[in-house]
Symmetry: C2
Subunit: 242 residues, 2 copies
């Protein structure tokens, strides 16, 4: 549309300039970086090879020179963001360190909710080097604390965090889809939820006991997480020689 439109290849100086122009050429690193940006911003459904290509000023199929398949790209994306997860370090206070690691893991999952969708197919079993280092750090933490079988401890903590984050990200996705702030959405949902809970004694009681579910929901979610995490850590502490 502009003056220098190049609808046809136009073999000229302008065409040559592209090679050393602002675009640093396509490479695996930038592809993965941009894919992560799209995933974080708009979720897993928003990423398509064509859109990703467009974002990189490239055709969709050009990406396949650097990445075998979309699934491989997703694996690379996961492994890349795992790098930002701080590796748990042993500590005289194992419980505090484990607590910290669990909160960090939760925050990481909430920051990259699309990993939850990938986890269901890839699992923690997949052995990218970064993930391996994270799990090793956690296991070491428990081993140093004196646990006879550190694997049980890592299983318990990681499974708890993943499970909790699963329902939490799903909830947040629902909230986001509503377009409202979380508190408003809760307030609007309350009557229906209360009615659904009627007929179930304990659930109904729970609703009556809680005074204001809509106040500061993010903090309440964090407390919920911390509360049940304490249960798991209590159980672990029992396994340690007094």
């Amino acid at each position: 549309m502009a003056a220098g439109s190049t609808q046809k290849p136009l073999p000229s100086v302008w065409a040559r300039s592209r090679s050393d122009a602002e675009q640093p050429a396509l490479n695996r690193e930038s592809i993965v970086r941009e894919a992560i940006a799209m995933l974080d911003a708009d979720g897993i459904e928003a990423l398509s090879m064509r859109k990703l290509g467009a974002r990189l000023n490239a055709g969709a199929t050009s990406l396949y020179r650097h990445v075998a398949t979309k699934d491989e790209l997703m694996e690379l994306a996961v492994d890349a963001i795992v790098a930002e997860l701080p590796i748990p370090r042993g500590d005289a206070n194992w419980r505090g360190a484990a607590e910290e690691a669990a909160h960090a893991f939760r925050g990481w999952l909430l920051r990259h909710p699309w990993t939850m969708s990938v986890l269901g197919q890839m699992g923690l079993a997949y052995l990218g080097p970064n993930l391996m280092a994270y799990m090793a750090g956690l296991a070491e933490l428990f081993a140093d604390a004196g646990f006879a079988d550190p694997a049980i401890a890592t299983d318990a903590v990681l499974a708890y965090v993943v499970g909790m984050a699963t329902t939490e990200t799903a909830w947040l996705a629902t909230v986001a889809r509503s377009g409202e702030p979380e508190a408003d959405f809760i307030a609007r949902l309350m009557p229906a939820a209360r009615e659904a809970a009627a007929g179930h004694r304990v659930l109904a009681e729970a609703y009556e006991r809680t005074r204001d579910l809509a106040a500061d929901p993010a903090t309440q979610r964090e407390e919920k997480f911390a509360n049940a995490l304490a249960v798991v850590l209590d159980g672990l502490a029992l396994r340690l020689p007094a």
Copy 2:
């Protein structure tokens, strides 16, 4: 292809016979039932509206007379299979009952692995009547046992089960994709895993300690699950007045 081919509508007795023939006409119930069968058998990627239609001797678009959208169909499918999950019942032995409920939940998730992919977007927050009843039953179990805040207990147990099942179904999907029996796949994977674990003290030690990972893997997975579940339940027991 056969003698009575009806490529064109052919308004005849044959056309009329379809109405009361073996096909009981399309209805929501049979659509959901067949969708579940396909999901259980071949996973979430194997379900498409066209294939589901073909399985029901119907065109793909006919399904939309009975189901608004594929997402709605998935919700219906989830709620339908939740019905087969036994509602936890209180018991003098709360711990045994909770253990049983957890194992039942795990088995259910493993039997319908595609729910894991759905959970990431729908979560346990979605309030189908059947799921509501299940969660109410579990909460009641803990309330009757004397827990001051039964919600914490259900959070801990459910999150643990979901998290554990996430990695387990992902692992099983990987195994299935390999085409080998689980034991063979493990045996083939061992060298690579051992090498990946080298450099991580605790992980390496863990590999040396375990004698035969490939023997009866299903039982080993079950034990793994039971072991860390015991941690969670121990933690819960602490919260009960002695």
